[in-house]
Each structure stands twice: as structure tokens, then as C-alpha cells.
Symmetry: C2
């Protein structure tokens, strides 16, 4: 059967519909051009493997993590990335800014300066359209502390210290609000509105927010805050994964393929599109079952899930 | 040593401090007059046992659950409560309002009408100062649904249906925002601000909010929303328990004695006091380890924890 079949006779309604199915299947096998695989999704792949399986699946972009980059060294990582032909979307991750002043806090700030340099180097090495973004996770309450307000103030102060470095390197710091179930031990920034309030002190090109569906889908104010993030030019990156209960026993590992849970990717993705975001979209899955699956299969399944749950809600022309 | 010792000589600084410790110990053995034991804290006690161990510990008030009340029948429950001499603080719980129209939704609404009557009957049977409050848990997303916004609208609509019944019975419906980790399977109302937005359509004497530290401590807007709740006359009940990580494998069972975790009871209790709340304060603990402890010991430990973590932040005269 050829495409020409669809216009030859009046009985071709069925044929046309078959062709549509064929086209959909073809689309499903060619990943959405805006999809980016966050390396955490294939956590146990080394950098070379992660780049290879991502590119071989026809995915065009990747978000990297610091540890596997550092495992091969930044220079080698940049060479591998350049050779892969993939766009670089984000570097994960900086932050952990809640410690009070002292050597440990200084070490954290210095480590974030290195992360900024890594992000700039990798973005320069990636294919055209790469973005120099460093995702920031705020950090939890210091051991023994109950001072949530003070911890949040120290996050803002640390970002203020790093802004000149980020601006000089051309890197955008993307504050990631994490789900409130992580507020005590991982991130004292829990809502998009709170991230935007912190970012508001700085230039949008230097400090933005990470919009991750898993962390903010429950927020009664989420659509308004996504619109606000767009108006304020703060959507640095959009990440998608799904929420499903019961949660994994380790709640960190409870992220699912888009479409496998209860998140309405239509309303959230629509809001992000309406807010003017035209960049790549990462899928970042922390999930023991997914990590135990062969890397190439995970990338294929991620691309298929994204194509089914997210792509229909993107503007037709995409990037 | 007597209290007189503290003023006899200039070397009495140490003596005074010892006396303070003695006084604190005495206070710890006599529970705070505003403490109320929520029956869920001693989940496996039947109603008669729950009333007995609470009263024997010198606690003056109790919050009840529907199942153990129904196990003996409402009339008997009211008689037992009256005989205990305890104040009745809340009835747990109504709600589960997210189902679409149909027989199951009608059954839920009808069941809430019965819960309203139970709350009124129990409040009338309890000691002077009892409060006719029905705690409402919104309910999660219906099976297979991703329509969070629609589910929330149905919660508001159900409350609207019940308001005439509650008003006629003199019962306050106390919408309880639950932690966002329960948003999909238990409560689509996740923040105090959201609960107040729903309540705003109704009289404060009929629809208020449950302020439970466990559920809202992480909220960057929590102090402002507590102040707002006070201004709007909506703090129906204040409940305290603590947050600690790692969370229990079943995140429903991760509530801890006040002081055992990271919640700042000073700032939250201070905000509730400043908002004008003068009522009883419940401790409601879902925790397998606590449930496995003898009931009388749990009540004593709860009273001691409350005395140490919460009482110092209450206005001196209390109720």
C-alpha cells in the first residue's frame, strides 16, 4: 500500500484510517524531537553508554549528571557529548545550600562554581540548540535544625553568591521546587511560586525555575504559577514524569513513565506551552524497576510514553 | 525543699533552678488542660478503653472516630462519653467527596449527614467546653481519573449540600488539608489556603479548617494562611504531630510524637495563638510502633511530649 492509495477511490475511508495508524506507528518509532533523556533515567549507564543508547533510539537531546561526567573527566565528557551529536539540555545538579556559614557551606558554594563551569562546557560541546542550565536542589534542614525559614533564606543567599559566576559563564541556574514530602531532608523549596519568589531578585537569564510535573502537579496554584513563570521569563526547563500510588517504600524512587500514573499532562503541558516555553523536555525517572531494565529498552519506552502522553499537547511545530 | 527556699538567700539561684525543674516535672505529670487525645493515637482501644485511659491520665478531652463509636452504637457512645467526664473535641471523619454524581456519591453524602448527627450528639454528651466539629477529608482522585480540578469542584459542591444540615445541627465542618503526598489517593485539598478558599463560600460557624502541623508545616505560606484563617474565623481545630524522615514505608503511618521530628511547634503554635485560637488541641498519631505500645503508656507519652513541645508556646492562661 502506498500513500497514493488514500485518494484513488471513494471506498478509501478505511484505507485512509489504516494509513493514519501506520503514520502514528511511524511517529511512535521516531521520538519526539523535543524529548531529552535525563541520564538519571538510565542511572547505571556510564556516560558513553548513555549517549549511545540515547542517540541510537533517535532521541536528539540528553540531560547529564555530574557524577558520570566526573567519572570520565569534563574534557572527555565534552568530547563524547560532541561526538554523540546530541543536544545538551541540563546539568544535574547543584544546590544543597541550607548549611549555616562555615567550611561545609563554603565547600558547597565552591562545588557549585565547578558545576557552573561543567554546565557551560557541556552546553558548548553539545549540538546546536544545547542549553547551559544547572538544576539546583535547595537542600533539606541541616541535622538537628527546625528552622525552615532560616534554611530558605540561606538558599537565597547562596544563589546570590553564585549569580555573578553563572552570569559570567552564561549559565542559567534553574531552581527546582521538590515535592513537599522532601521538604525536611532534600529541598526546602517546595512550590513553583516559592522558587519564582527567590528567582525574582535576579535576572531571568541567570536564575530560573525547573518545572517538573512530579513535584508540582498537586499544587492548587500550579497553573497560575506556570503562567507567572512564563510572564517572568523563568521557565528554564520543563521535565515530565508521572505520580502513582502506593508510593515506593523509598519515596525518592517513585517516579513513573508519563501516562502510567495520575498526572494530567494535558493541562500542565498546555500551560507550559501557553507560557511560551519552546525548549527541550526532559524525562527523569528515579525508579528501581526502570533502572533494572536494559538501557536501550528504557529509552525506547520513555520515547513511546512521551509520544503518547506529552507530544499531543505540544504546539504542532515544536522547536 | 519548699518553694520558700527560693527567696531566702542570695545563693538560691541554683535552688530556684532546681525548683523550676521540680515544677516542670509536676506539670509534666499533669497533662496540659488543652490537650485532647485523638482516638486514632490509640487506634486499637475500643471506645470504653479509650475514654478510660485518657481520663485516668488526667487528660481532659478526646477526639473520637466514627468506627469505634458505631461499634457500640451512638446512644451508648454518648453515655460512655458523658460518664467519662471528658470534653469531646472532634469527630473523625467525614468527607470523601470526589466521586462524580451517582449512587456512590449519594451514599457518601448521606453518610456525612449521619456523621453530622453523631458529632452533634457526642458534643452534647461531652463535658462543658465540648465542640461539635466534624473533620472532613476531601477524598482522592476517583479510580482512573486525572481530573484534579473537577475533583476539587465536587468537594466544594458536596460541602455546599451539607451546610444546611450542619447549620441545623450546630456542627462545624472542618476541612482538613492533607499533605500533598496524599493528593492522589486521599485528599485533593492540600493546603490551608485552598481549604480556606473553599470555606469562604460559607459561614465560619458552619465551615472551617483543620490546622494539622503534619500536613502543612512545609508550606512556605503557612504562617500567612494561619493568620488569615484566624482573621476569617476559620480555625475549627488545631492538631499537632511531628514529621520525621525517612518516612514509614506506608506514608500514612509516619506521624510522630511532638518533638520527635523537625516541625517547629514554636512558630506554628505561636501563629495559631496569635490568630486567636483558644480551643483544645488534639494529638493524632498514625504510627505502627505507637499503636503497638500499651494505651496508657501512649497517653502518658503523648501528654509529656505535648507538655514539652507545645505547651510552652501557648498563652499562659490557656482556655
Amino acid at each position: 500500500m502506498t500513500a497514493g492509495d488514500t485518494v484513488t477511490t471513494s471506498t478509501d475511508t478505511v484505507t485512509t484510517s489504516t494509513d493514519t495508524a501506520t503514520t502514528s506507528a511511524a511517529t511512535a518509532s521516531r521520538p519526539d524531537p523535543r524529548l531529552s533523556i535525563n541520564q538519571a533515567t538510565i542511572k547505571y549507564a556510564d556516560l558513553a553508554t548513555a549517549l549511545r543508547v540515547t542517540a541510537e533510539a533517535g532521541v536528539q537531546a540528553i540531560g547529564l549528571w555530574r557524577e558520570p561526567v566526573q567519572a570520565v573527566g569534563l574534557k572527555t565528557a565534552a568530547e563524547l557529548l560532541a561526538a554523540s551529536g546530541l543536544r545538551f539540555t541540563t546539568h544535574c545538579r547543584g544546590g544543597f545550600f541550607t548549611l549555616p556559614e562555615g567550611p561545609a557551606r563554603r565547600a558547597a558554594i565552591d562545588d557549585n562554581r565547578r558545576a557552573i563551569e561543567e554546565a557551560a562546557t557541556l552546553a558548548a560541546a553539545g549540538a546546536e540548540g544545547s542549553t547551559a542550565i544547572l538544576v539546583l536542589v535547595a537542600g533539606g534542614l541541616p541535622e538537628g535544625s527546625r528552622d525552615l525559614i532560616g534554611a530558605r533564606r540561606r538558599v537565597r543567599d547562596a544563589i546570590g553568591e553564585l549569580v555573578p559566576d553563572a552570569a559570567a559563564a552564561g549559565v542559567t541556574l534553574a531552581i527546582e521546587p521538590l515535592h513537599p514530602m522532601y521538604a525536611s531532608d532534600r529541598a526546602v523549596v517546595s512550590t513553583l511560586g516559592q522558587a519564582l519568589d527567590i528567582a525574582a531578585d535576579f535576572e531571568p537569564s541567570v536564575v530560573g525555575a525547573t518545572v517538573d510535573t512530579f513535584h508540582i502537579w498537586w499544587d492548587p496554584d500550579v497553573l497560575a504559577q506556570i503562567a507567572r513563570a512564563g510572564r517572568e521569563g523563568r521557565i528554564a526547563t520543563y521535565q515530565v514524569c508521572d505520580w502513582k500510588t502506593p508510593l515506593a517504600a523509598d519515596v525518592l524512587l517513585s517516579r513513573h513513565y508519563p501516562g502510567d500514573g495520575v498526572i494530567d499532562f494535558g493541562s500542565l503541558t498546555g500551560a507550559v506551552v501557553d507560557a511560551g516555553y519552546t525548549g527541550d523536555i526532559e524525562v527523569e525517572l528515579f525508579n528501581e524497576d526502570i533502572w533494572a531494565t536494559p538501557h536501550d529498552e528504557v529509552v525506547r519506552r520513555t520515547a513511546a510514553a512521551f509520544g503518547a502522553a506529552v507530544s499531543p499537547h505540544l504546539a504542532p511545530l515544536g522547536r
